[in-house]
Symmetry: C2
Subunit: 271 residues, 2 copies
């Protein structure tokens, strides 16, 4: 019995060590970077598409829209209800997706799918969607949509949801960024995590040069994707969304919020 117990313990330790090193789960700094870069395109497309519509204030006015059983604006109604449908279709089974209205979300009706388990379970709960909602509607949106009202509130709300989901996915991808950095430099991160030293964690996660490059690249994407493409060479002129605003979106909100997610995730990485 004793030797059997030792065998079992060895096996358990080996399994845990293997799970910790996670060499074979495909998470690499390169795969994380590629995804972040691809997600920039999605965010720029979403902003350009939302900018097709003017501000459309009634969509955000709780007194405008009356839906029995729901109290809120038209955009709240569209986001909540669409999230419920997508939840039934299994969207939030993927740990990369985070709902804006997680309460009373219906369960998935799709058979379970085996998404790769890349994150540390005790640190997965981090969700900053309340802040993203506030930043998007109160700070970002007024910067890039023209004033006006064309009556297309449902379409406007659908595009707001696209923007919110794209930003949320990008910012919560910070969990994967943190995980891959933690695995690579565990000996640097562990002491700061144990002493709950947010400042050191933030310093470890920050690379000013990379951040500046990201801001320049998203501005270039806003120019490239937001230009009026014509046959011949005449593709100059006004952009559909001001590249400086996309750069500012990243510098003021996307990058800092991603780092907040990273720090919060790391603080629970050894739980």
């Amino acid at each position: 019995m004793d030797s059997c117990l030792v065998m079992v313990l060895i096996l358990v330790c080996w399994t845990m060590a293997k799970a910790e090193s996670n060499v074979s789960d495909g998470l690499t700094l390169e795969s994380v970077r590629d995804s972040l870069i691809r997600q920039e395109d999605t965010i720029v497309f979403c902003l350009i598409e939302r900018a097709r519509f003017p501000s459309n204030a009634p969509a955000y006015d709780p007194s405008y829209f009356s839906n029995p059983g729901s109290y809120g604006s038209l955009v709240e109604f569209v986001v909540k209800q669409t999230e419920a449908i997508q939840a039934k279709a299994g969207r939030y089974e993927n740990p990369e997706e985070h709902p804006f209205f997680p309460d009373h979300l219906p369960p998935s009706q799709a058979p379970p799918h085996k998404f790769p388990r890349l994150l540390h379970p005790a640190a997965m709960f981090v969700n900053v969607n309340k802040i993203i909602w506030d930043v998007y509607f109160n700070k970002l949106l007024p910067l890039f949509v023209a004033p006006g009202d064309d009556g297309n509130y449902a379409s406007t709300a659908a595009h707001d949801l696209d923007c919110l989901q794209a930003l949320s996915r990008r910012i919560h991808y910070g969990k994967l960024v943190a995980e891959v950095k933690f695995r690579g430099e565990r000996k640097d991160y562990e002491p700061a995590i144990r002493s709950r030293d947010k400042k050191t964690l933030m310093d470890l996660l920050t690379d000013q040069n990379v951040e500046e490059a990201v801001k320049r690249r998203v501005a270039k994407k806003a120019m490239t994707f937001g230009q009026e493409v014509k046959l011949g060479d005449g593709s100059k002129g006004k952009y559909k969304v001001d590249p400086a605003i996309v750069s500012r979106l990243y510098g003021e909100w996307v990058i800092p919020l991603t780092k907040d997610v990273e720090v919060e995730y790391l603080l629970h990485r050894l739980d």
Copy 2:
């Protein structure tokens, strides 16, 4: 009383003539063209975003997804239910929007909005969404998504809906194209409409040079929006959606279906 009746009749005739000429409703060949060109960007963005996901066959398999009360695939469920939410938020009050599942669509719960009345009421009913659905899922989709299964069926379905809505809006915009052309060359169109001469109507509506230019322009857009944008000059390489397929989408399906909508609309333009 007689002179009063004459006055009323004159007023009625004048009002009808004014409504017919519609000089002040803002519909011009230029505004229609600008919208069609802008919608090309939307369609290309939607295709690029759908191409982020592989084919994801289970999303289209009716035996995979079981939702009480609905019989169909996961994508059918997501499209039907999302259309119902957007209908409540007033999407289909805008005559430019056409649902894929118009039966049992709930009424709008938003206060009515005065959308411009540009179309001839008796010809507004034209809806080719059944054909668009078939073309999109059975012909187009297999051409531009990679084989594979990443489990993100809900997101995939949401992007399919975006593509369907963008294509539907573009193709049904044919009603506005037909209306503006009819107003401009009424004496050419009227005899063909009265004799139900589809061939002549199709000839009147067709401009090979414009069609070729559109096909070249959408291919250029697929190159511009589907490239990998890098800092520096290194933006060459693979496109996210093959520009030749976008050109083919327009040549084989979008342009012909738009013209079908135009002819069908015109056949009822004098009803």
